[in-house]
């Protein structure tokens, strides 16, 4: 992708200057993806298909926003790693709590119904 990352006056502060057409394309893509995820609900998709589509569109939208609108795609790897790796800890939390929630649900069904 063509972009100008370094103006001569400030070599250390990468001014994020990219062709405006790129933003329009991403903007359009985000609209399309939002429409698609809305249609998932509109057409009442259920079960595994629903989950796959919802999560897929969600991750695609999030990726486009972070990579292009927030310019992560052109940042140095040190900054990218410092920001994008720590949220992985949340995935551990989600895993733990999913297992805990299922256990709670099971005990409630067994003893408190």
């Amino acid at each position: 992708m063509e972009h100008v990352a370094t103006p001569a006056s400030a070599p250390q502060q990468h001014a994020q200057q990219h062709p405006i057409g790129l933003y329009f394309k991403i903007w359009g893509l985000l609209f399309v993806l939002s429409t698609l995820s809305y249609l998932v609900d509109y057409f009442h998709f259920q079960g595994g298909l629903r989950w796959t589509l919802i999560l897929l569109f969600m991750m695609l939208k999030a990726g486009l926003i972070v990579a292009v609108f927030m310019h992560m795609a052109w940042e140095r790897m040190a900054l990218v790693c410092a920001i994008l790796i720590p949220p992985g800890a949340l995935m551990v939390l989600v895993g733990l709590m999913a297992s805990e929630a299922n256990y709670t649900n099971l005990t409630r069904l067994l003893f408190f119904r």
Binding site: A15, I20, Y23, W27, M58, V66, F69, M77, I83, N105
Partner: protein, 247 residues
Amino acid sequence: MTDMPLDPPGAVAGGGRSPAPPAHAAPHGDGQVAGLRGLVADWSGDQQTFQVAWGKAMMWIFLLSDTFIFGSFLTGYMTVRTSTTVPWPNPSEVFALNIGGKPVPLLLIAVMTFILISSSGTMAMAVNCAYRRDKVTAAKLMFVTAAFGAMFVSMQAFEWTKLIMDEGVRPWGNPMGAAQFGSVFFMVTGFHGLHVTAGVIYLSVVALRLLAGKYDRGNFQIVEIAGLYWHFVDLVWVFIFALFYLW
């Protein structure tokens, strides 16, 4: 931290531009090493880790902490929704709007989503204009972005009113199913709405200061930093839309 003087290439302490410098002594500026070697070089001692302005680095770190806040909220939501034995109210029906006597599922939420995405687009344009030193257009686009944000919050206020007054949803219960629905809804969307409101104020202030010429000496990077916050607000909505409204 204060504004660091920019080291010209070749004037880096203990290094300079020798023909083949070791990775940890690679000069900054144009001679930067990319990829994994760049990662190691950037994290090595005796130098600045993040090669961006301090304001931008701090905004990113703030956004990282905010990620954990919203991440914890959404994890809590997953926990109560999975563990309850009472059926969860169907968001598709709860948030439907009647158009011509027929309920259209999630209509308001879809409109709000499109408004927020549009505002992200105008914000990206504002950043682009600012780096081309077109500060009047940049400020105008920031006001448009803020207006979209205000529209979003207004629609959210409408949604809350409808839910509280017509549907009888309370943080401790509701007529449609699991009691946790209300508390999760008010907490998550409320906290997000608070961020949007703060963003509207933040963008307006930065745009006004931009017009007043307060940033004329710099490179208008403040617009990009404010933009990072705004895109993050949009980003959080992507997750709320998918996980709360579509689940």
